[in-house]
């Protein structure tokens, strides 16, 4: 099976007051059709930047793809024209955002905002697009879709708005759906409903999903593979069950230990709830030739500060960028 998306040695630079910082530094991964892959890590580690780069939506004049390729269906998106990217956005690759309260335009009806995508990419007539919007609202389980379609966002709850966002993103049956922390802003019960919805829709549409989250529970439930990101670099990549079973990077280990219930064998003695001590380094530190996690790491040795760790591959498909990966 050839991958749907292949990201090779991606480097994204952000211009800040202190100079140019590589917010994504030499990132490579593949995504297969229909697969769910999760991006995990603390805020500011480059998850959302990766998503915006895939969409061709890096902040203008501030961020740019400095090196590497994003190959989608055989086409390099990092070289594609604006027009080509526009044809792909919302059509073949679409995205839902973290803040359902502010991500919908307050002055247009939900129906108009969904129908607009259909008109732009599929050339549907106004009438057909409107009818299709009602179908889509039904599909994301908004009750009474026929009348809710003319509602404005302010007339809906947060969960309903996120459902509407999902309907909008899935309108053109994209091959990839990027969900950037889709439930962070929602109540816990609503979070579960949204994840259920995403799981079901994935089965129905066969879309591949890139799920960006720091909710390890959601990762365990939804994704087949995961990438752990730290300070713009890949820390660990591999099948979710394998990584949870046996993390090969101290940072992953720390993240998993934060969430006691996802340990695969509940009969094991529980560790105390630990946090990963310390904080993510500031942008100024990014790009240094050393392990960026070193300052927070319990396994710190000379080697970690001497040079950037290289990727260690394991037989089970796991890989980790840590000098001590084998020993963990």
């Amino acid at each position: 099976m050839s991958p749907l998306l292949e990201v090779k040695n991606l480097r994204i630079e952000l211009t800040t007051r202190d100079g140019v910082a590589p917010v994504i530094d030499d990132l490579s991964f593949t995504l297969n059709p229909g697969e769910t892959m999760s991006f995990v890590g603390e805020s500011g580690c480059g998850k959302s930047m990766t998503a915006l780069a895939l969409m061709g939506l890096l902040p203008e004049k501030v961020g740019r793809v400095a090196a590497g390729n994003i190959i989608f269906d055989g086409e390099d998106l990092s070289q594609a024209s604006d027009e080509r990217l526009r044809a792909i956005r919302g059509n073949e690759i679409s995205m839902i955002f973290q803040e359902p309260m502010t991500s919908l335009n307050p002055v247009f009806t939900i129906g108009e905002q969904i129908a607009e995508v259909l008109r732009a990419h599929q050339g549907l007539s106004r009438k057909a697009a409107w009818a299709q919007s009602i179908e889509l609202l039904n599909a994301v389980r908004i009750p009474n879709a026929k009348s809710r379609v003319s509602d404005y966002p302010f007339q809906m709850s947060g969960g309903q708005r996120q459902r509407a966002m999902i309907a909008m993103a899935l309108a053109c049956q994209p091959k990839i759906l990027i969900a950037d922390e889709p439930t962070t802003a929602l109540d816990v019960t609503v979070q579960a409903q949204i994840f259920d919805l995403l799981t079901d829709l994935r089965k129905q549409t066969g879309a591949a999903i890139i799920l960006i989250t720091h909710d390890m529970g959601a990762v365990a439930e939804m994704a087949e593979r995961m990438i752990v990101m730290y300070a713009g670099r890949k820390a660990e990549l591999g099948p979710v069950d394998q990584i949870i079973e046996h993390p090969r990077h101290p940072y992953t280990k720390g993240l998993i230990e934060c969430v006691p219930h996802i340990q695969s064998d509940p009969s094991l003695e529980r560790h105390d709830l630990v946090e990963v001590p310390g904080i993510v380094p500031s942008l100024r530190e990014f790009g240094k030739d050393q392990c960026l996690f070193a300052s927070r790491c319990a396994y710190l040795t000379e080697a970690c500060l001497a040079s950037r760790p290289t990727e260690k591959l394991f037989a089970n498909g796991q890989s980790a960028d840590c000098w001590h990966a084998e020993g963990l």
Binding site: E42, S43, G44, H214, M216, L255, C258, V259, E275, I279, V280, S282
Partner: protein, 293 residues
Amino acid sequence: MTRPVIHEEETPEAQHPFTEAWGMFRKNKSAVAALGLLALITFGAIFGPYLYPTDPFEMVWMPFSPPGQEGFLLGTDYLGRDLLAMIINGAKVSLMIGLSAAVMTVFIGVTVGALAGFYRGIVEEVLMRITEFFQVLPTLLFSMVLVALFGASLPMITFAIGIVSWTAVARITRSEFLRIRELEYVMASRASGASNLNLMFGVILPNALPPIIVQSALMVGSAILFEAGLSFLGLTDPNVVSWGQIIGSNRQYILDAGYTVTIPGVAIFVTVLAISLVGDGLNDALNPKLRQR
């Protein structure tokens, strides 16, 4: 599990607020230049009549003598009066009325806004209705009516400008009071038994001042424009010269002597421009939200 990213920043050394504000103000080059210009204009208005003692009402030469000729730097007007002397003497009236009308505006505006924002309820309701009422009357027309009915003396003109212009100050003061009265330190003073008067003017007002100061600076500029408008229409004390009045009285002769209108206009324009640039600078210096940019 997630922690906010904390960017280390050097904590600035604690400074006296005035020093800090002046530091911010100084960064705005055009505001500093404007402040200098304003000082110069004020100096001219106060000492000009002594340094250049020509009587602005006296016919000194032929009418419409162009600027720079016959020894008159700015020429003469339609009655042969020295335009430079008129501009110098007009400065005093324009600045004085601008300033005193602004003081009145701020006094009424702050009082109304503070009472409305502090007491809420029926007091706020009544005061805001009164504010709305004043916003419905076109300001210039209303003050024209006042001046026309009660006479064009300088105090009456000042009153007529002040009584119609305070609504903006009242709205700003009220919204600041509404915001600040809920803050912890106000609650704390309230709990420790401070009187309402003390709370209003001792605790809340000092913290509400920055936007009020900026608005007050701008009010001086608009009061000067306002006075110019009234005196352009001839609604001014005939015994004093003012910039607007020079324009108004010479306006029939613009074909022959455009400078009699252009020059006093430039005087008004430059003065108000300087005030508004200083206002911008004050805004930079006092508005904490902008400081971080």
